[in-house]
């Protein structure tokens, strides 16, 4: 009985932490998406100095938000976002509009893919 009750508490904890992490990841990716949208707007308007400041700020936000993500998410997925962010930084620095826009789009898709991948949907279950 004691083991059974402990097992049920453990299951409750796993489900609770699972829901909390999903909500937390969703919230963090929303914030990151907002930052990426602002960079995209600046790149489109060729406000390069503004875009560079925002890209660097995004790097900081990413480093802060993603500190505990490797505990839950595929490490390769995390690395891909870091590499993409580094490329975007260089494209913005050297003011290459088409490459920067392409990179912004890829980065946004990669960030949005994380909560999609973690969501409890029939597609993900099967």
């Amino acid at each position: 009985m004691r083991v059974f009750v402990s097992a049920l508490i453990l299951m409750g904890l796993i489900i609770g932490i699972g829901i909390w992490t999903n909500l937390s990841i969703k919230d963090s990716t929303c914030q990151l998406s907002g930052h990426i949208d602002r960079i995209a707007r600046d790149v489109r308007n060729e406000s390069w100095d503004e875009a560079l400041i925002k890209t660097r700020r995004l790097e900081k936000v990413w480093a802060e938000k993603s500190r505990w993500w490797p505990v839950l998410l595929d490490h390769q997925e995390m690395d891909n976002i870091s590499f993409s962010l580094a490329r975007l930084n260089e494209y913005v620095k050297y003011r290459d509009k088409s490459l920067a826009m392409g990179q912004v789009s890829e980065l946004k898709r990669m960030v949005e893919h994380i909560p999609e991948n973690q969501a409890v949907t029939l597609n993900n279950i099967f």
């Binding site: 097992a7 453990l10 595929d74």
Partner: protein, 231 residues
């Protein structure tokens, strides 16, 4: 490299602890749902152990969930007879009153050679000696011999027997078990006196000593001590 070592140790510890909590059954005695869990846990632990790109939690969480599922199923089958027969199945009678139940063998896809093999493993060479053979839910065959074919027991011959309990291990590899001494209401002084009768002064020289329920002390001295004394 070090990460792999640490991950292996963590996964091994968690798997080991959970399997210990799950129970003491041997692989051959596992119920189907328990066997499935053992197979799955082995695989789940191996993947994050070798692939450092996968978060450790991806291996640990499914193992914990399987543990919860196992404990829950075991608890349900403990409480409900219906659930028990659904989860673990029911024992099947393969030989009933000395007759092989062919329909049951067919239903279980169990051929006569399987049955004979299992009977031989139970030291039954002649199927005609069997009154009942029951295939248990764990896959083990229980055999009940005809009353004329089973070994004679003292009760059949009206021979009185004395109580035979478990002998208490008092010394193992030179270490006195104070817990076992206490169980038989004796102490280490008594043990030292008894050992002295065997010509042993130090309990550390004893490899194994036990006391049976008749009060007989069995004692074996360590091989190196024997050699030293012989020399």
């Amino acid at each position: 490299m070090l990460i792999v070592v640490l991950r292996t140790l963590i996964l091994y510890t968690v798997t080991f602890v959970l399997l210990r909590i799950m129970g003491k059954r041997q692989v051959g005695q596992l119920q189907p749902y328990e066997l499935v869990i053992i197979i799955l846990v082995a695989d789940l632990a191996a993947i994050p152990m070798e692939n450092t790109g996968i978060p450790l939690l991806r291996g640990l969480v499914p193992i914990l969930v399987l543990f919860v599922a196992q404990v829950t199923l075991a608890y349900i089958s403990l409480k409900s007879e219906t659930a028990r027969s659904l989860i673990s199945g029911k024992p099947s009678v393969l030989i009933e009153n000395g007759l092989i139940v062919e329909s049951e063998l067919r239903r279980l896809r169990y051929n006569i050679n399987d049955l004979l093999e299992q009977l031989r493993q139970k030291n039954v060479a002649n199927i005609a000696d069997v009154e009942f053979a029951i295939l248990e839910t764990s896959g083990q065959l229980s055999v009940i011999l005809k009353s004329q074919k089973r070994p004679v027991i003292p009760e059949d011959l009206n021979i009185p027997t004395k109580y035979e309990g478990l002998p208490a291990a008092l010394i193992t590899d030179g270490h006195i078990s104070r817990e076992n001494l206490k169980k038989v209401n004796l102490n280490s002084e008594w043990l030292r006196d008894e050992l002295a009768k065997f010509g042993i002064n130090d309990p550390k020289d004893v490899f194994f000593a036990s006391l049976d329920t008749q009060g007989n002390l069995y004692c074996q001295v360590k091989a190196d001590v024997r050699k030293r004394k012989g020399a």
